[in-house]
């Protein structure tokens, strides 16, 4: 094996995987993992670590993999991350850890994500117990939302002895990991359920079907139910629409609706009652992970799928691996196109989407070149279904029902970055609810910081 090249990972072949919902990437075998681990230089000043939002000691865990000490590797990761099987699969590694790996300058970066996933899967399959819990101290903390931020915060607090209850609006814990990210990227029964079970094994209670702001308020939790502190990890679940003509036609769905029907409600599986209108020819508007997931789900449900994105391929915000997989699977990319109208037939069902061609102009505030319309370039794509994957914002349900809890103009809760402290005494927040739609690892990191801050706060209270 050439040292500049990473050990390739086994994947389902594109023509096969496009017909099923099984995981695309099969992960490294032991031998492959060890082989790949050998490529790491164990740098004295590892740049990879500086780009991991939770600063996993990457060279150390990889060293253990190299020595086949997988349990030790798992313990190194566990010091910094509680969801390695998830992050190893879904982190945008190319712009985080792997993006700064020195090997990346002259060849392939070390496959840090794949190695992390290997270690996490190995430790799950070998039932390694990584939990170390202090005796219960009888003090109650409420966590709102069972996504990555809430699960992490709850797990960390439980380890410190706090009695933690998570209140989750949906009927299932996991947040975006269960309702958004599809099975073929993140298996639910094995990986996600295992992470949830781990948190429960630490003594955390999860009460599903509780919508804070409706079923119970933050004030009631603190004043009537005896919770001394609250962590809000309610995510950014509110879907945006474009507000173009025809958007309420039959056959136009938000990516959240489409994905929730397929993932959470399992509409893709025989025997489940929730229906989904898969569509025969589908346009997905957007270029992020959500758009790729919706597109590849529609493909697996039997549709011909067209991504419509207003910038070029270089600007696609999705993980590089997902874009690569989508192209391999035969998703059509209509780049530098912006929808201006959704066309409907006389019965109100979608029959097409009218777009305008774009070109890239000067860089905007985000540093990306701003797309500008090319005059008189409108054209139509014939489709029967349109999925809007334009991004999401935090749901105002909690901020609007909790006096003193402040949010900014975009609806994001105001919270200190290092502690998650909000404008309300005893109330902390983190993850997408604070940052707007971001990543699993950032949400998890925020949950960890908040857990530490909550423990410090309660100690002094």
């Amino acid at each position: 094996m050439e040292i500049k090249k990473r050990v390739p990972v086994m994947e389902q072949a594109p023509e096969i995987r496009r017909t099923n919902f099984d995981e695309v990437c099969l992960g490294y075998s032991e031998a492959e993992a060890v082989e790949e681990a050998k490529r790491c230089l164990h740098c004295k000043k590892p740049l990879c670590v500086t780009q991991c939002p939770v600063s996993i000691n990457i060279p150390d865990f990889i060293e253990h993999v190299k020595e086949r000490e997988f349990e030790k590797a798992a313990r190194v990761i566990a010091e910094s991350s509680s969801l390695p099987a998830v992050c190893g699969r879904v982190c945008p590694q190319e712009i985080q850890c792997e993006g700064q790996c020195v090997l990346g300058k002259k060849g392939d970066a070390v496959a840090i994500g794949k190695l992390e996933r290997f270690v996490a899967d190995w430790s799950r399959e070998n039932n390694i117990d990584l939990s170390q819990t202090l005796p219960k101290n009888g003090r109650k903390v409420a966590v709102i939302g069972a996504g990555p931020s809430g699960l992490t915060c709850a797990g960390d607090l439980a380890k410190l002895g706090y009695e933690v209850t998570i209140f989750e609006a949906l009927h299932k814990a996991g947040g975006v990991l269960v309702y958004g990210i599809p099975e073929f990227r993140l298996p639910k029964e094995t990986v996600v359920q295992h992470e949830v079970d781990n948190v429960k094994a630490l003594g955390v209670k999860i009460e599903t079907n509780v919508i804070v702001g409706r079923t119970v308020s933050v004030d009631e939790l603190m004043q009537e139910e005896g919770f001394e502190a609250v962590f809000i990890g309610s995510g950014a679940g509110l879907p945006m629409f474009m507000n173009i003509p025809g958007e309420n036609s039959n056959g136009v769905f938000s990516a959240n609706e489409y994905l929730t029907r397929s993932n959470l409600m399992k509409a893709f599986k025989e025997g489940y009652d929730t229906p989904i209108k898969a569509g025969k020819k589908v346009a997905v508007v957007g270029g992020g992970n959500v758009a790729m997931d919706a597109a590849r789900t529609a493909l697996r449900l039997g549709a011909e799928v067209h991504i419509v994105y207003r910038r070029s391929q270089a600007e696609l915000p999705a993980r590089a691996e997902e874009v690569h997989h989508a192209i391999e699977e035969g998703i059509h990319f209509n780049l530098l196109c912006n929808p201006v109208e959704i066309l409907a037939d006389e019965k109100g069902w979608v029959k097409g989407i009218r777009c305008i061609r774009m070109e890239l102009g000067e860089p905007d505030a985000s540093g990306r070149r701003r797309p500008v319309e090319i005059p008189n370039s409108a054209f139509e794509i014939e489709v029967d279904t349109v999925i809007m994957a334009l991004g999401t914002t935090p749901n105002p349900l909690i901020s609007s029902t909790t006096r003193g809890l402040e949010a900014n103009k975009k609806g994001c809760l105001i919270a200190a970055e290092e502690t998650g402290k909000t404008t309300l005494e005893g109330v902390f927040a983190g993850g997408d609810a604070v940052t707007g739609a971001a990543t699993v690892i950032l949400a998890m990191g925020a949950g960890k910081k908040a857990a530490a801050a909550i423990a410090a706060y309660l100690k002094n209270k």
Binding site: T215, V216, G237, L238, N248, S254, N256, E257, D273, T274
Partner: protein, 296 residues
């Protein structure tokens, strides 16, 4: 798990259930709804809250069997469980925030069609408990289908019943009856609250618009999560997109785009569901004898 503590057949294919859900009962208000799920494979089914007992910790739902899920639900017996029961969802009825003394000055009439009689009951009851006697029109196909007559009578001012076949009360649609009350009997109403099939609510709003009477309707579009996450329940109200599950389900009926809402609600219709809805439309006022709008 949420136990069914009581079950009753109210009328052919219409069932009432009391479900043990203390958190929901404690926070419930008139106008809100719940989402129930029967088991792992079940869908999330939105149902209006028809009553609640904060002490016993139970919530009452009334549902009509229209498609696969509601038919399966009808097979559940007292002592069985829902795997999930979440709520209260949506905004409470506007009037519970209003000044009671001002509310007492208003003449309110509820108009219910079919299974809509069930959700108007907690609203009339709430008003009754606050010293306000609201009138009600309840319409249904025939006498056998009349829901909660005794209960509503006990809390309403005047109760008018309309049956399509004339087997009980007024013969005709609720729209005709409301029109008669206003035109022939000289009744003056300040507020109409209409709950029932979308087609009925549409025609009620067309009628009340003529008289300039403020009209609240309770919208029931297709929903998944009920928390604002999927956007499947979106409606156009006053030219703007609103999510029925968080902004509603009650809206100013004169601002709602009913034709769009009715079209959107057919998106996931199954054959049996569609047949049932067509039947309802025939029964509750598809014949527009007001000369106000096109037939649907």
């Amino acid at each position: 798990m949420y136990k069914i503590t009581a079950k009753r057949l109210l009328a052919p294919s219409i069932y009432l259930m009391d479900v043990a859900a203390p958190r929901v009962a404690k926070s419930a208000n008139p106008g809100q709804f719940v989402i129930v799920k029967m088991d792992e494979k079940g869908e999330r089914i939105p149902l209006t809250i028809c009553d609640y007992d904060k002490i016993a910790g139970t919530v009452t739902i009334v549902f009509q069997t229209v498609g696969a899920s509601t038919k399966k639900m009808a097979l559940l017996a007292e002592g069985d469980y829902f795997s999930d029961f979440v709520g209260p969802l949506g905004q409470p009825s506007e009037f519970i925030e209003e000044n009671i003394e001002e509310l007492k000055q208003k003449k309110i009439i509820f108009v219910a069609g079919g299974v809509g009689a069930a959700p108007v009951y907690p609203q009339i009851k709430w008003l009754h408990e606050h010293g306000i006697a609201a009138d009600a029109i309840v319409g249904c196909k025939s006498k056998d289908y009349l829901l909660l007559e005794k209960e509503i009578k006990a809390v309403a001012g005047k109760l008018y019943v309309a049956t399509d076949d004339g087997s009980y009360g007024y013969q005709g649609f609720v729209t005709d009856l409301l029109k008669d009350l206003i035109e022939k009997e000289g009744q003056k109403y300040d507020l109409v609250i209409a709950i029932g099939p979308m087609i009925m609510m549409k025609f009620i709003t067309l009628l009340t618009k003529q008289y300039g009477i403020k009209t609240i309707v309770s919208m029931n579009p297709v929903m998944v999560d009920g928390t604002g996450m999927c956007g499947g329940c979106r409606l156009t109200v006053g030219g703007e997109t609103r999510f029925a599950c968080v902004d509603g389900p009650e809206f100013d009926g004169h601002l709602v785009d009913f034709d769009e809402a009715m079209r959107r609600s057919t998106q996931y219709q199954t054959e049996e569901g569609r047949a049932e809805i067509e039947r309802q439309e025939k029964e509750t006022g598809h014949v527009c004898n007001l000369g106000l709008g096109e037939h649907n």
